[in-house]
């Protein structure tokens, strides 16, 4: 067959093309101008790789493969299309967990073959087995951990499970999984029982690692699991001799690690802190005492205040998105802009639930880029601002982060909304925020509270500004 390429060569070449498309796609996704074409490039790579894989020599079970591909695709496409933009972070966690689970499944199939009489005689390198075990461990942890992250952000789990000796338990589980994995990899005991125990321990480790972490830290955790899944995929790619998986998995592993660091930095948390300290949810314990009282205000008064202001800065938070208020808020801002008021949006790096999440939500409402400013750009401007409208944001404007060393958010960069002449806080009730920390901003002399659901408040404010004429 000289001159004709074999199926294997065609597959290898296609995987090479896929790797190029993935890297080019990710590169394009990292700039706003080309971002949209980036996912199309990467998508094309995925289609090429999936189709060509059906030609792999010696494969069986084509019916099962086709059913699983179609079934998984349809369910995911359906759920992905109908999920609200506010719920994106947990959907990413869910899909990421599925990838981790798939990597663990590959490892499981390979490891169970060791005790399968049908494969007797085929031996594996220790290095190959070691990577299969490590990839399986990481994949299983990412799978169960991501499911917990999904459940927490979706509100299915509200409490953070914490008890004494948690770190020790996690360490023991990790050591147990590694010991079992070593037994398999070194050929000491490769029975199905040991392999099963190994995966069960790994799955439990994912649960116990993630359960104590509070909701506010979840974005960092999801990003970490994203990177881990990439690594697991890369290792299993080595086991299968699949270059597309090796390259794509490792690229994601490295890119995901960098993203995780960037996010942790934006939240002023170190990764170790996130994983081991357990802040990030309803603390409630011994918060610094706050003096003064919260002073309410009516929407009509706020409307007048904003209509005659020179500069208004809107500080949106996740609460605004939950109330689906971003469209109305933008309508309000357009009214103010028509009156000659300078309006800006101030975005904290962790506004929303992930860095960049709020930008997506505002883009959805049609807010143009040039009036959206990030923390470094906007912070000096609050001093010249007449009204800071805080809508759905809480911890990111809490001045305690600058002053109170005992506060869990001490040192976190915040938006200096308290420096503006008037601060209006739109809030549903008097409760504390996502992190459960009391907000000193609400008690300042220049702060007024507008108690309403974000959507309701925006509608009332639109009416109030229109009434000014």
């Amino acid at each position: 067959m000289q001159g004709l390429i074999t199926a294997d060569q065609a597959i290898q070449f296609s995987y090479w093309i896929t790797a190029i498309l993935f890297i080019m796609g990710l590169k394009r996704m990292s700039s706003p101008v080309t971002a949209r074409s980036g996912i199309l490039w990467a998508g094309a790579g995925m289609v090429v790789a999936t189709v060509i894989t059906f030609l792999t020599p010696g494969m069986a079970n084509f019916g099962l493969i086709a059913i699983a591909v179609v079934l998984g695709s349809v369910i995911a496409a359906w759920s992905g299309k109908r999920v609200a933009m506010t719920d994106m972070p947990q959907m990413i966690a869910l899909y990421n967990g599925m990838g981790g689970g798939a990597a663990a499944a590959i490892a499981a199939v390979e490891l169970y073959k060791l005790s399968d009489p049908a494969h007797a005689g085929t031996t594996h390198d220790t290095a190959v087995l070691a990577l299969a075990v490590i990839g399986g461990l990481i994949g299983a942890v990412s799978f169960s951990g991501s499911l917990i992250a999904f459940a927490k952000l979706q509100g299915l789990i509200n409490k953070s499970l914490r008890f004494g000796g948690q770190q020790i338990l996690n360490l023991l589980l990790l050591a147990g999984a590694l010991a079992l994995g070593a037994m398999v990899a070194l050929g000491i005991d490769q029975s199905a029982g040991v392999v099963t125990t190994f995966f069960v321990v790994a799955l439990v480790l994912g649960l116990t690692m993630t359960l104590p972490i509070g909701g506010a830290d979840m974005p960092v955790v999801i990003s970490l699991y994203n990177a881990l899944t990439g690594l697991a995929v890369s290792f299993e790619g080595f086991v299968l001799g699949n270059s597309a998986m090796i390259i794509a998995g490792m690229v994601v592993g490295a890119a995901g690690t960098l993203l995780t660091q960037l996010m942790a930095k934006a939240m002023n948390r170190s990764l170790g802190n996130v994983l081991f300290s357990g802040f990030g949810d309803t603390g409630g314990e011994a918060q610094g005492t706050v003096t003064g009282s919260m002073k309410p205000i009516e929407a009509t008064d706020v409307g007048v205040m904003m209509a005659f202001a020179q500069k208004v800065i809107v500080v949106p938070g996740y609460g605004m998105a939950v109330a689906q208020a971003q469209h109305k808020v933008w309508e309000l801002c357009q009214l103010l802009i028509e009156r000659g008021v300078t309006v800006k949006f101030a975005i904290h790096p962790v506004a929303g639930r992930m860095p960049g999440h709020m930008n997506v939500l505002l883009a959805e409402a049609g807010v143009p880029y040039d009036i959206i400013a990030d923390l470094d750009e906007i912070n000096a401007e609050f001093e010249t601002c007449d009204v800071a409208l805080i809508i759905g944001a809480n911890d990111v404007v809490n001045p305690v982060a600058r002053t109170d060393k005992s506060s869990p958010i001490y040192g976190m960069p915040i938006l200096n909304a308290d420096k503006s002449k008037n601060v209006i806080v739109v809030k549903r009730g008097k409760g504390a925020g996502f992190s459960g920390i009391e907000n000193a901003l609400f008690y300042l002399d220049n702060t007024r509270m507008l108690y309403a659901d974000g959507q309701r408040a925006a509608i009332d404010l639109i009416g109030a500004v229109k009434a000014v004429g």
Binding site: T50, T56, Y95, G99, V233, S243, I247, G256
Partner: protein, 100 residues
Amino acid sequence: MEGMIALYIFMLAAFVGYEVISRVPVILHTPLMSGSNFVHGIVLVGAMVALGNANSTLEQVIGFVGVLLAAGNAVGGYVVTERMLEMFKSSGSGGKKGTH
């Protein structure tokens, strides 16, 4: 695959991943995380091969679940990333609402 060559590929791919997104603006963090989440959906091809070579019922069941999960990762990752990035089309013009 040759061990040392694999090591080199691991290393080079890691540098590529790091470099490719090292200057990404904050506004793209979420879509990019989602995009990289989609890219590791390539685990689908591995899951297909694993199921394709599975013999015992146990292996077939695990392989089937693996392909199912991997397809979900790839397709779900694509759909949500595409939806988020769609909004960056009309950047700067304003007033336009992204389609659902």
